[in-house]
Amino acid sequence: MSMEDLYQEIILDHYRKPHNRAPELEGEDVHVHHSNPLCGDEMDLRIRVADGNLDAVVFDGEGCSISQASASAMTLAVAERDLKDALDLAEDFRLMMHGDEPRRADDLLDGVAFQGVARFPVRVKCALLGWMALRDAIETYESGATAHSVTYDDDKDGS
């Protein structure tokens, strides 16, 4: 296992220049806060929904390169998707992190770059942080609520 498998250029790019990173979102429908205190990761994710589609997704917070880059790549992959479709993509990413081949590699866009992370078990939860926050945000939206907060333990990836 080499560092290159973990830190691909594409990942570092997202880390250095994250997309859709913002502390606020105008007209937000849901705001979720996810934290993994064991790693010291904190993630705020906000979504705005229009006509059943993800109209906007922004994240903010603190975390390692993997968690930040993965969240950035996630916001691009799910942009404008309808909620069910986004959930399906999140599940595809989660299974990829557990070693499966992605079914929807094309749709994941830069997300596929994180496939190598599956070989670093302690980093898997970093890569999943943004995706799990998204899933939670959508489920929170569907339940009619506007905010939710989740704290992770060591082994759970929200599955």
Partner: protein
């Protein structure tokens, strides 16, 4: 558990297998060591020692927190031990497996995090007169502090639990918790725990149940899912494993809403000066650095036993205990406490020798290189009900065989002629 299948009675070669156990290789006064005290603690095969050495020699680090490889690998192996133990016992998921230091801690965990937090005046806890203190004193102590009633199922003249009495004790529906031993460490009796659990549920559908499996798991194929108990306790040092580790096997949902017992590192996800977020089970119940090397050892012990086959282990002991019990009963002056039928018992055989105090018997047998236990075996309530202060106990395991019988009988005969008038 199921009786060994009649077709294909798997067996193993005891002479070969003994070589796996270092302490059995030693001699005492030029005689082969005859170890008949496995109910207290079993011998440990080399393979288990090797597994622990592997950890210390190549992966020595703490678990659950490391971002470097030896710690990641050690963590993975520690968690695999959990999964392995779940599989060994037929537990539905490793999430219900909490590692403890021994079964005593496992039972205390339930006493503190469940019983003490939920039972009070007007409630009753049902246990039995044949329990080891580990499955008695925690309930007694909790009853003292919290004012609930402690009821005990008596033992019949045939050395079995009195199920009629149990039914009566359950009748008023006040029993909220049942704690029962799977196999008696004194009598060897295999208790009908599945039936008792069902009986308790009929009297109170919400009853919560715990089975002390310390003496069952080493000797019988055990399937905790089939028993349908809420909690099942085991201790590794009696099942070819190392000292320093045991486990509580719980229905995962039962742990979900239980507050922690020991608190500290690893069992929380967040601590603020004004609040704490507990971790999920099983981690919520594993505070501090766990017995890591010991988990490696327990994993190897499960492998060792499964490779032999628990059906084969039971078949071997079933035959052997029959031989031992018959021979002891045929010996003049010897009284055996425990079921006669090997179908109803495991390999712990308590007995008395007329005119010879158990202490003297133990010392005399030691002179013959035979290790037995004497005393109350941490089961004082049972001793009282048997009307004795102490018994001698010879207990069998997979490495014992018929060649261990003669030294035992010789020692008994010598003790009688020495001490008895």
């Amino acid at each position: 558990m199921s009786e060994p299948r009649d077709e294909d009675p798997m067996t193993f070669d005891v002479a070969t297998l003994r070589k796996d156990f270092p302490t059995l290789q030693r001699e005492v006064d030029g005689r082969r060591l005859i170890y008949l005290d496995s109910a207290a603690s079993s011998q440990t095969p080399q393979r288990v020692l090797d597994a622990m050495d592997e950890y210390y020699e190549t992966l020595r680090s703490n678990v659950e927190r490391g971002v470097y490889r030896i710690s990641e690998v050690a963590t993975g192996r520690y968690e695999q031990a959990r999964t392995r133990l779940a599989r060994f016992l037929g537990a539905p998921s490793p999430e219900g497996v909490v590692f403890t230091k021994n079964v005593t801690e496992a039972i205390n965990l339930v006493a503190y995090s469940w019983v003490r937090r939920r039972l009070g005046p007007g409630d009753a806890l049902l246990t039995t007169e044949m329990e080891h203190h580990a499955n008695f004193v925690p309930w007694w102590h909790a009853a003292q502090d919290h004012g609930f009633e402690l009821r005990t199922i008596p033992v019949t003249e045939d050395f079995e639990l009195d199920l009629d009495a149990a039914r009566d004790l359950l009748a008023d529906g006040k029993v909220r918790f049942l704690a029962v031993g799977h196999v008696s460490n004194v009598l060897g009796t295999i208790n009908p725990v599945a039936d008792l659990i069902e009986m308790a549920r009929q009297a109170n559908p919400d009853v919560v149940t715990l089975v002390d499996g310390a003496q069952a798991v080493p000797h019988l194929p055990v399937d905790v899912a089939a028993l349908d108990c809420d909690f099942y306790g085991i201790t590794a040092h009696k099942l070819c494993g190392p000292t320093g580790i045991g486990a509580l096997i719980a229905k995962p949902e039962r742990l979900e809403d239980m507050p922690p017992f020991l608190t500290g590192g690893s069992m929380i996800v967040d601590v603020q000066l004004d609040g704490v977020t507990w971790n999920h089970p099983p981690h919520r119940f594993e505070a501090g650095t766990p017995p890591i090397a010991e988990a490696f050892g327990l994993h190897a012990a499960c492998d060792y036993l499964d490779d032999l086959g628990m059906d084969a282990v039971r078949a071997h002991e079933h035959a052997l205990v029959g031989t031992f019990v018959d021979a002891l009963r045929d010996t003049e002056g010897v009284t055996v406490y425990g079921p006669v039928d090997p179908d109803r018992r495991s390999g712990a055989i308590s007995f008395a020798v007329d005119g010879v105090h158990p202490h003297d018997l133990g010392a005399m047998l030691d002179g013959h290189g035979v290790c037995i236990r004497v005393g109350h075996h941490c089961a004082k309530p049972l001793m009282r009900s048997l009307g004795v202060n102490a018994t001698a106990r010879a207990s069998l395991y997979l490495y014992n065989d018929t060649d261990d019988l003669a030294p035992l009988l010789d020692g008994i005969a010598e003790a009688r002629s020495f001490f008895a008038r």
